[in-house]
């Protein structure tokens, strides 16, 4: 608990809104599940976090990919690209209770800290769709570069960051005006983004560039670039996609896609601490609540790797449907 309060304290310094972020998720008991979306099966597979036994498969709309839990953990949102929908799964019943019409081919999405709005990237159209979760309707479409992917709402609810895989940029959208206020050039085929805990840095994974671009959130300029070299892997196979950061802000885990490894990065020094061999085409990545376990989806070996974060070793690998994409841990 002390760690939790410490985190809230620093959050308070950064922004008042961050406080609510810290409090709400802790209010409810967690389900004890690990959720994995599999693109080709149209299901979300549910595992018991303890023991990693399969509990059930939840049928979803077509091609489920990105997932996100509501702050209280009662709802799991799943973007289903081929059905132009974001499904809402009731975690207590493990059934889809609603399917949100979000426009063509939703890829990734984020939810505002007050949970009033959902922002989704429409991969085919080069749009970001703004959806009101209170009014249950689409309220805006914002044109961005082609193949938008990563979507991240700033914790102060002021900005939405969106990557465009084609424009090789991060678009910074002002939530109030719904206009792009800045286009930041990053590496090749930018995919996902992660804010450091102190909110000063935005990390962007560049799949084809093979790097992580680190941007200063105050100036929107690049301050550093991370490169990777797992042993025995060709430079051309290194394709960073997923990222997860620890709550204390000290460490980041980066999935390297076709290089079949996860890089463990010291977020302060930007040094690579280790590389962990996982499975083929590692993309999705998530930490459990006490951060003792790291879960990684391997899209081309159809499994989920469970890593012991103390030893930095895979301790278990479980089948997870055809082309497992994203993983959400709620233990």
């Amino acid at each position: 608990m002390s760690k939790f309060f410490k985190e809230c304290e620093s959050g308070l310094k950064a922004t008042a809104l961050a406080l609510s972020l810290c409090v709400i998720p802790q209010a409810e008991a967690s389900s004890g599940y690990v959720f994995v979306s599999s693109e080709k099966d149209d299901v979300v597979t549910v595992f018991n976090a303890e023991g990693m036994n399969k509990v059930t498969e939840i049928n979803t709309s077509e091609r489920p990919r990105a997932m996100k839990l509501s702050l209280d953990g009662s709802l799991l949102y799943v973007a289903c690209g081929d059905d132009d929908a974001i499904d809402v799964i009731d975690v207590s019943t493990l059934k889809v209770k609603q399917s949100i019409d979000i426009g063509e081919d939703p890829d990734r999405f984020d939810i505002s800290p007050d949970e009033k709005f959902l922002y989704a990237s429409n991969e085919d159209d080069g749009l970001v769709t703004v959806y009101s979760l209170e009014e249950n309707k689409k309220i805006a479409e914002i044109e961005v570069g082609e193949e938008p992917e990563g979507v991240l709402v700033s914790p102060d609810n002021r900005l939405v960051y969106v990557t465009s895989e084609v424009a090789n940029m991060v678009h910074v959208i002002d939530i109030e005006s719904k206009e792009i206020i800045e286009n930041i050039v990053v590496g090749n085929r930018p995919r996902r983004m992660e804010l450091t805990r102190d909110l000063t840095e935005l990390w962007v994974s560049n799949e084809v560039g093979g790097t992580i671009t680190i941007l200063d959130t105050a100036t929107f300029t690049q301050t550093a670039e991370l490169k990777f070299a797992p042993k025995g892997m060709r430079a051309e196979s290194i394709s960073p996609v997923g990222m997860a950061m620890t709550k204390d802000g000290s460490r980041a885990y980066v999935t390297l896609g076709g290089a079949n490894h996860v890089a463990v990065v010291d977020t302060k020094t930007h040094k690579i601490i280790d590389y962990i061999l996982v499975g083929k085409r590692a993309w999705g990545v998530s930490l459990n609540s006490d951060e003792t376990r790291l879960y990684v989806t391997n899209g081309k070996s159809d499994d989920l790797a469970v890593i012991d974060t103390a030893r930095l070793k895979v301790i278990k690998s479980v089948p997870a449907g055809r082309v497992p994409h994203d993983v959400v841990v709620d233990d």
Binding site: E143, G145, A167, N183, N188, V208, G210, E236
Partner: protein, 404 residues
């Protein structure tokens, strides 16, 4: 000389998208991209286009260029530029040098060449401006990457050798090592055959027999035009049809005497793009192209699209647009582009060929992607396809070094 020239007004429209406003339009610098075509290009005859032969163009490349220009609007905006396309068609290939010089005088640096190999040669040696840069979109000829290579010429389309290397890899990996080869005696197909022979040697494919085919029904020529007679005698695992046009090859599958696969220009075909590729963001590219071009995207369209993406990426990576230092930057190992078929794509500095994976394709499927697993190269696996460093007779890398 028939001369078509028009500016795409639509490019100007794109500048106002995304909610970004610009101070004045006059501050925006125009970067001209010229698409150069040959009016009587046999590859674009109506009956050929309509036949939809595998790995052949299915229409002119303008739509692909326009698509890429649209996709590059954020890069252009960021640098205060706009890309303007002009399209030019010559009635005879020897009109090319004067056209190029005229465009150079008007301030065009970037030329997209959709020309037969002979036309590409004309153009590259005609250039008078040191910063002019030519992108070969559709000529596969190996000699353009070897004895006829040119310091201002970059190849977006793969060489024939890259395609025959990819197929040879595949056949060897399947242990279909005994190949009967059919080829025509026109010069282009003879070069195709020689490319295949070199690939066979490189990967250990055994060519059991090489037979000349001839389109036609003349009974006196039956040993050259009758598919059954051509394929009855030999013992083979696979028939390779070296037909650069596709018109003869299209009849070979299911017409040979033995129950064997047909590869080369029909059946399983090496191609550098295919609408059915469903990874690396390719479905999105295909959907965008289909919407604009009203047909599926081919390797030729991909070349046109890719050439503009190379230019746009170059623009994005320069602080200020600088045509003089553009080419050395493109050739540096740090310069990478995304072609939506996996691997970061880079240029081979020794022959200025864009490195790229090659697809092994059926009519409606990508069966595999070369380099295949297990075919390794000490430096870059993509270099197992086509000329490796030191191969071929291209001696331009030194010149480029000097230019820097």
């Amino acid at each position: 000389m028939r001369f078509i020239r028009f500016l795409l007004g639509s490019c100007i429209l794109y500048l106002s998208v995304g909610g970004i406003s610009f101070a004045t339009a006059t501050e925006i610098q125009s970067v001209q991209i010229a698409l150069i075509e040959y009016e009587d290009d046999p590859r674009y005859k109506a009956n050929i286009i309509d036949a939809r032969y595998q790995a052949q163009p299915w229409g002119r490349l303008e739509e692909a260029v326009k698509l890429a220009i649209k996709e590059s609007r954020f890069a252009a905006q960021k640098k205060g530029l706009k890309f303007d396309l002009t399209r030019h068609e010559v009635a005879a290939l020897n009109e090319l040098p004067s056209l190029i010089n005229e465009l150079e005088a008007q301030g065009t640096y970037f030329f997209l060449l959709d020309l037969p190999g002979e036309g590409v040669q004309y153009v590259a040696s005609a250039a008078q401006h040191p910063s002019s840069l030519f992108f070969n979109l559709s000529a596969l000829d190996n000699n353009l990457r070897s004895e006829y290579c040119h310091s201002n010429l970059l190849h977006i389309a793969p060489s024939r050798k890259m395609l025959t290397d990819a197929m040879a890899q595949y056949l060897v990996s399947k242990k279909w090592k005994e190949a009967l080869v059919l080829y025509s005696d026109n010069e282009e197909d003879k070069r195709y055959l020689s490319s295949l022979q070199r690939s066979a040697k490189k990967f250990g494919l055994d060519i059991v027999s090489e037979k000349v085919f001839k389109l036609g029904n003349d009974p006196r020529d039956r040993y050259r035009n009758n598919i059954s007679l051509l394929t009855a005698k030999d013992d083979y695992d696979v028939v390779f049809v070296a037909d650069s046009k596709g018109e003869f090859a299209v009849d070979i599958p299911y017409s040979i005497v033995k129950p064997r696969p047909v590869v080369g220009a029909a059946g399983l075909v090496a191609d550098w793009w295919h609408w059915a590729w469903d990874r690396n963001g390719a479905p999105q590219v295909n959907k965008r192209f289909l919407k604009k071009g009203k047909r599926q995207m081919t390797g030729y369209d991909w070349s046109a699209w890719m050439a503009v993406k190379v230019i746009a990426e170059g623009v994005l990576r320069q602080d200020v647009f600088d045509p003089k230092n553009f080419q050395p930057m493109l050739l540096s190992s740090e310069f990478k582009v995304d072609g939506a078929k996996g691997y970061p794509l880079t240029f081979k500095p020794w022959d200025q060929q864009l490195r790229q994976p090659i697809f092994l394709t059926s009519l409606n499927r990508v069966i595999n992607r070369a380099p295949l697993e297990g075919f390794l190269h000490p430096v870059n696996n993509l270099d197992v396809l086509g000329n490796d460093q030191g191969e071929g007779q291209c001696k331009i890398s030194k010149e480029i070094g000097k230019k820097k």
